[in-house]
Symmetry: C2
Subunit: 398 residues, 2 copies
C-alpha cells in the first residue's frame, strides 16, 4: 500500500517499455504491443502517437506477409534518425560504429592498434577524433542519443574508470571522463566481454537464453556471465573475469603476473607460440594456423589440440561452476573453438558433471568480433530506453 | 496500467512481508515495522492483530532497553509454537532439528553415518524415524509448518530428486517424494552448500552481504553462490558446484571420475592422505591433524600447507570469477582454512586480480556445521512466509 506512481511517471515508464519492445523485437503491430505489454489498444495508440511526434518511431505498412486482407500498421523504430555511437578498445584495434535505434549498424570504422598507441592519452585522442568524425558525417536531421565504449579490461562502470587492462598496460585510467570531456557528451564504459554477453543474448545466438556464458578472445580471454537474465556483477562489477582462472598451475606466464591462467594457456598468444608462428600476430596469426591445420600441417594441428585441451579444462570448470544453458565463443575464440571443438568436447565429457554437461550447448558467436561493439551500443541506448522523451530533448539540444 | 491486485491479495502479501520481517529481524515494534514496510501504523496494527489471532506472533514488552519512559510493545514470532523440521544428509552424518519461527533452534539430534547406511531406502527410513520422533516429541499445542532437507550433492529442487551425490553414491534418488510419502507432508530439498550460503547470509557472518561465496567442506567441497542477493541457480539449479573445478590437472583422483578437482586436492580426504592419518576419518581426523600441527608435528603442518595451497588456488579462481564481497568457509573447511590461512592468503595475493582481491573478505562460518541445517529450515519456512494464514490452517489440519 505504498503510494501509487503519479500518472506522468506511469506514462514515462510505459513509453520506455514500448520503445524497448520495438528496439529489441523489431517492428510490431499495435495489437502485438498491446498483448506484450498487457495494456489496452487505446493506451497503446496514445503512447505510439507520443513517440511518433517525438520522432522516435514511425508507423508504416509491414513487408509482404502472405496473409489475405488489409495488413495492420507496424510501429518501427526511427533507426536512420536516432542513433548511438559505439566504441570498442580492443587489445589490437579501435573500432567505432553508429548504431541506429533497433540495433541497426549504420556505419562502422576500424583502425588496427600497434604498440605505438598504448599510451592512454593517445588512444583517447584517437578515439575522440574517430567519434567526432563519425558524428559529423551523420546527417543534420539525425540525433546521437548516447555514447558507449567497450574496453578489453576491468572497468568500474559507475565512473568509467579502467581499473586494469593487462593486455594494454593500463591501470586506473578514467577513460570515460576523459573522452566525455573531449566529446562534450557523457560516455558509458563497460567491459568488452560483459557487453558481448549482453549483445549475444539480445541480438545474437543466445536470444532468450537466461543462463549464458560468453567467452571473448582477443589477445586475452574475457568472460561475460548472464545468470537468470542478469549480468553477473559482483562487489565492484568485475565479475566474470574467467580468463584469469588458473587451469595449469606453474604453466605459461600470463601478463597479469600469474602462471597458467586460462588466457595464457588457451588464448591466441599460446596458440601462436605452440605453432611457432611468431612471424604473424593477432587474428591473422590465428587464421593462418587454422588454415595450416586444415591443410594437414602437423605442428599447427598439434598446437590447436594443445590449446583446445586447455580451453576444454576452462570450459568444463565454468560449466560445473555456473550450470549455463549455453556457452558462446566470440572474437578469435570463435575460430580457435571451431578448429579444436573435438578437444573441448572430449574434456567436457570427462570433466563435466553429468547433470550439467548433458544440457549445455556450445555455440559460436553470431556477432563475431562485433559483439562488444553491439553491446556498447546497448549500453549507450540505456538512458533513452529509460526516459525516451527527456533524453531525446536533452540530446537534440532542445 | 495492469489491473491492480485485489484487496485480499494485498493483505496476504502484507501479512507475509510483516511476518518475514519479524522472522528475519527479530522482535520489532509497530513503529519499526511501519518504517520498514512503508505502511501507516493503523495498517500495521490491523495486520499484527490478524497474525496474533492466528497464533503466529505475540506482542509483549521488549527486554530492558535502558531508555527512559514507557517502552512500546514489540511484535515477536511465536517461536515455541510454530516450527519447521530441518534435516541434513551429510556424507558422514544425519541431523535433524526443530527450528522455531524466527530461526531459533529448539532441539537437535545427530547420528553419525557409516558405510552400512549408504543405501537410499535405509537412509530415508532412518530420516523418517528421526523426523517423526521429533515431531511426536513436540508439545500438543505446537504446529509443524514445513519440512526442509539439505543434501550433500546435486539436487533438482522442483521435485526433490538427488541427481548426483558422489560422496554417498546416489544417482537419481527421489528423496523428496519418498520421504514425503513416509511423513505424509511435503518435503522441500536443496543442496547443502546452497542452503548454507542462504543461512550464513540470513543469520550468520554474511548478514547483509549481497555478493557472497560459501564453501562447505565435509567429505567433499560444495559451493553456494549468492550474487546481487540471489542464489546462483543456472539452467537446472546446479550452479555453484565449485568442488569439481579442476585446480590440478592430472592430480588426485576424485570420486566424480575426474582428477585434480578442488575437493580432491583441498578436501578432508586429501588432508588425511597427506598427513598419513588414515587411522581416523571425517571431522575427527581433521581435528587431530590440526592439533598435531599446532603442537609442531612437521608432517601434519606440511599436509595443511599443501592442502591450503590448493585451497588458495581454488579461492583465487573463484574470487577472480565472481568478485564476491565475502568468502565464507564452513563445515570442516572452517578448521582447514583457520590452520592454513597463510597459504590461502598468499595464493590470493599472487593469483588474485588487484581490483577484486583488494576488497574481498575471507571469513569462517558463524553457524559452523549447522549452516545447511539452518538453511534447510529457511527452505521449509518459505511457504508460511508466502501465505501465512493459509499455510498455518493447512498444517494445523484445519
Amino acid at each position: 500500500m505504498r503510494a501509487a506512481p503519479a500518472p506522468d511517471e506511469i506514462r514515462r515508464r510505459n513509453l520506455a517499455v514500448l520503445l524497448r519492445h520495438v528496439h529489441v523485437g523489431g517492428p510490431l503491430s499495435r495489437t502485438e504491443l498491446a498483448e506484450r505489454m498487457g495494456l489496452n489498444r487505446s493506451t497503446i495508440l496514445a503512447l505510439t502517437n507520443d513517440l511518433v511526434a517525438a520522432g522516435l518511431v514511425r508507423e508504416e505498412l509491414p513487408g509482404q506477409t502472405g496473409k489475405a486482407g488489409r495488413p495492420s500498421l507496424v510501429v518501427r523504430p526511427e533507426s536512420e534518425r536516432v542513433y548511438v555511437l559505439a566504441l570498442d578498445v580492443g587489445a589490437d584495434r579501435l573500432a567505432v560504429a553508429r548504431v541506429g535505434l533497433g540495433g541497426v549498424v549504420l556505419d562502422r570504422h576500424e583502425t588496427p592498434r600497434d604498440s605505438a598507441t598504448f599510451d592512454p592519452d593517445e588512444v583517447i585522442a584517437a578515439l575522440a577524433v574517430m567519434a567526432q568524425t563519425t558524428i559529423d558525417a551523420a546527417g543534420a536531421d539525425t540525433v546521437c542519443v548516447g555514447v558507449g565504449l567497450a574496453f578489453c579490461g576491468m572497468v568500474r562502470e559507475r565512473d568509467g574508470v579502467v581499473r586494469y587492462g593487462p593486455n594494454i598496460g593500463w591501470v586506473d585510467v578514467p577513460v570515460g571522463a576523459k573522452l566525455s570531456e573531449r566529446l562534450g557528451r557523457p560516455v558509458a564504459v563497460g567491459n568488452n566481454a560483459n557487453l558481448g554477453a549482453i549483445a549475444e543474448r539480445e541480438r545474437g545466438v543466445g536470444a532468450g537464453v537466461a543462463d549464458l556464458l560468453y567467452l571473448h578472445g582477443e589477445v586475452g580471454i574475457g568472460g561475460g556471465v548472464i545468470m537468470g537474465g542478469t549480468l553477473l556483477g559482483g562487489e565492484g562489477g568485475y565479475g566474470g573475469e574467467v580468463g584469469h582462472m588458473i587451469v595449469n598451475p606453474g604453466g605459461r606466464a600470463c601478463r597479469c603476473g600469474s602462471r597458467g591462467c586460462l588466457e595464457a594457456e588457451a588464448g591466441e598468444l599460446a596458440l601462436i607460440a605452440a605453432a611457432g608462428r611468431t612471424d604473424l600476430s593477432g587474428r591473422a596469426a590465428v587464421e593462418a594456423i587454422v588454415d595450416a591445420a586444415a591443410r594437414g600441417d602437423a605442428t599447427a594441428r598439434d598446437a590447436l589440440h594443445q590449446v583446445g585441451d586447455w580451453l576444454g579444462y576452462g570450459v568444463s570448470n565454468l560449466v560445473n561452476i555456473f550450470n549455463p544453458t549455453m556457452v558462446v565463443f566470440g572474437g578469435v575464440l570463435r575460430e580457435i573453438y571451431l578448429a579444436s571443438a573435438a578437444q573441448v568436447r572430449s574434456r567436457l565429457a570427462v570433466n563435466g558433471l553429468l547433470a550439467v554437461r548433458e544440457r549445455v550447448r556450445l555455440r559460436t558467436s553470431a556477432l563475431a568480433d562485433d559483439a562488444p561493439l553491439v553491446g556498447a551500443a546497448e549500453l549507450a541506448f540505456a538512458e533513452l530506453l529509460t526516459d525516451p522523451l527527456q533524453t531525446l530533448t536533452r540530446c537534440s539540444g532542445g
